[in-house]
Symmetry: C2
Subunit: 391 residues, 2 copies
Amino acid sequence: MQYTYAERVNYMANSAIRELLKIAEQPQVISFAGGLPAAELFPLSEIKESYAQVLGAGDPSVLQYGTTEGYLPLREEISAQMRAKGIQTEADNIFLTNGSQQGLDLITKLFINPGDVVLLQNPSYLGAIQTFRSYQANFDTIPTNEAGIDDLALELLIKQNPPKIIYLAPTYQNPTGTTLTLKERKAVLRIASKYGIPIIEDDPYGELRYDDEALPSIRSCSTDNEVIYLGTFSKTLAPGLRLGWIVAEKSLIAKLVVAKQGTDLHTSTLLQRATHYYLTHFNAVEHIKTIRQAYKFRRDYMLTELEENFSDQAIWTKPSGGMFIWLTLPERYDTVNLLPHALAGNVAFVPGAHFFTYNGKYSSMRLNFSNPAPQQIKQGIKLLSTIVAAY
Amino acid sequence: MQYTYAERVNYMANSAIRELLKIAEQPQVISFAGGLPAAELFPLSEIKESYAQVLGAGDPSVLQYGTTEGYLPLREEISAQMRAKGIQTEADNIFLTNGSQQGLDLITKLFINPGDVVLLQNPSYLGAIQTFRSYQANFDTIPTNEAGIDDLALELLIKQNPPKIIYLAPTYQNPTGTTLTLKERKAVLRIASKYGIPIIEDDPYGELRYDDEALPSIRSCSTDNEVIYLGTFSKTLAPGLRLGWIVAEKSLIAKLVVAKQGTDLHTSTLLQRATHYYLTHFNAVEHIKTIRQAYKFRRDYMLTELEENFSDQAIWTKPSGGMFIWLTLPERYDTVNLLPHALAGNVAFVPGAHFFTYNGKYSSMRLNFSNPAPQQIKQGIKLLSTIVAAY
C-alpha cells in the first residue's frame, strides 16, 4: 500500500543534516555540533533521591493520570520562580509541557493557519523553524542594522505585512549566542503591542549567564498579554526529563488545555512530582551556579582557542551566556560543503544555513562549547582550523 | 490584546464535559466516569527500584537528550513482545510516544488534511475524535447490522466516499467494551487493503481480557503495511508515566521522526530507560495477571449489580475485557441531562453522546468498573438506579 500523506508533510524538514550528524556521535569525533548540556554535571543523585521519595511515599497517584495543565504544586513553584524574575504570574498562568519544544508546537497549533506569517530573527533556532514549517507557516525576518534591531524598518514591515506571531529568543540565542538589548526588547514589545501581534519569548538559556546581570525578560516588561513565555528545565536540570512550561494568560491556558488533550493528554505525573520534590528539597540555585562556572570556563577556553587558530580567517560572536558561538568564515566558504571534510577529519559543527528561513549565511557555523571537555575544545578547534585552511 | 486563533481552534472540542466531571473528583462522589486504572495495583516498588537502578548506575546519559525514535533496547524489547503476539516487527518498526494519544496525534498530523474523512466506529474513543477534529477531519461511521460490521455496506461506502484513514479500537473498545470478531477484523482489513486505506489499530485494552483467549490483532493478520498499530503501557503498567508506542513500516517511522522532532524532540530518556529496566527485571506478565483478576472481579460485580438494579429499565454490554460497560436506557432518557442529577446524588458517569461524531445515542452512558472498589460499585449502581427511576 502506498501512503498518501497530508500536504503539511511536504513542508516538514527532511533530516539530511540529522543523518549526517549521526556520524558526529562516533567516539573518535570531537563534536561541536550538538546542543547538549554537559552530562557529567547532571544532579544524578538528587534526581535519584527525588524519584525514590515520591515513589516511596506510598501514594500511588504519582503514577495515575493527571490534569492537562499540570501538577498544581509544581505550577505554584514555577510561578514563584517566575515572580522572582519579575514576571507577574499565578499558578493558573503556568502550563506544563514536554520540554519547551512542545510549548512551541502547541502555540503554533493554536495560532498558525497555513500561509500565516511568523516573524523571527535571522538566524533562529532550527527546531522552531521546523515546527512553524510543519504548520505551513511563511516567514519574515526581523530587520537589523549595525546597531541591532532596526525598529523603524520593523514597524514598517509589520504595518505592511502583519505577521500572525513574532518568535524571539532574546537571551543567548541559539545559534548565535547573542542577546537583545533592553532597548531592543522594549522596541519590539512596543511595536508588537501597537499592532496586536503576540510574541513568543523562548528562553531556554537565560539562566546560563557568565558575565553580566540578567536583562529583564520581554514578558516582565509587558503589561498586557502580548508575550507568551517559554521556559524549560532542559538546561538547568536535565533535558532527558523533557519538562518545560508556558507562561500565559488564563484564556490562552484554557485553549492550551484543549490542544494538549488531543496531543498527549498530559505531561508525566511522576516526572512532575519528582521535579517538584527536587526543586523544593535541593539547592537548585547552587546547582545552576556550578553549571555556569563550568560553561563559562569552556566558553572562555573556546574563545581563546578561536583567537589562537582563527584570528586571521574568521570572525565569531562572544556570547555572555548560553551554549553556542557563531563563527563566520570569509564568504567564499560554504559550511554545508565543508562539513563532510570536517567529519572526515573527526570534528563536527552545524552549518549555519540550517538556521535561516532564507538568505542563509553559508559561510557560518554553530559551535557548541557546553558539551565538549576543555581538552576536546582545544584539540577540536585546532583540527577545525587545519581543515578550514586546507579546504 | 485580543488573540486571533487559527481556524482549527474552532474545531477543538470545548471542555464542558471535563468541567462538569471535575465534580466527579470530589471524594463523596462515586465515579464511574473516569477511564482510570486502579491506582492501588500500580507496581510502585518495582518502578521505584527501576528508577533507582538506572539513576544509580553512574551513567548520566539517562538524563541526556535522546533519539527521536526512542531508546533502542526498549524498542527491541517491545518488538519482541509484539512478535510474541504474532506481529512481525523489528526494533526499527517501533516508535516510542508519550502515551498512545501522541501516536494518534502524530499519525493524524501525517495523514489528515482539513476536510479529509476519518472512518470510525460509532461510538468511538472520545480522545481520538478530539484529535481528528483538531486537524479539521470529517467523519464517516462504519456501517453495522445485527450481526456486527456490515461488510457489503462498508465496501460500498469506501468505494463511494473513500476515507483517508480508518480508525478502529477492535478489542474491548472504549466506550462500549465490545470486541470485533475475527471475521469482522478480516473483512475490514480486506476492504481497506483493496482500496488502499490505512487502518489505525488502537489497542490500549488488549491485555485486559477476562474470559476468552486473545483474538489476533488486525496488524498480525496483515501482510502489507495497511495497519498502523498503537500500543501503550498506560493500562498494564501506569498511565502517569506517559509511554506508548507505534508499530509501523520504516518509511512511516522516518516520517514520524520528523513529525515528533517538531512536536517535542523525543520521549523522556529517563522514562524509557526505567521502563526498559522494569520490563527486563520484573515479572510484568504476573503483574498483568493480578490486574486481570481484580478487574474481572469488578466487572462481574458491576454486571451483577446492574442485573439487580437495572434489569427492568436498561440494557448493557457484557464486555469480556477492558474497563467499560455501556448502558442504554429507554430512548426517552437523555443522559446529558441526567448527569447533573446523578452528580447531585453523588454518582458520576460519562453521557454516551460524547462518544459519537453525530447521531449520538442520547440514552446511553459509559460506566467504568476498573477504578471504583467493589463496595463503591455496589453502592454507586444502586444510587444510579434510584436517580434514573426518579428522573
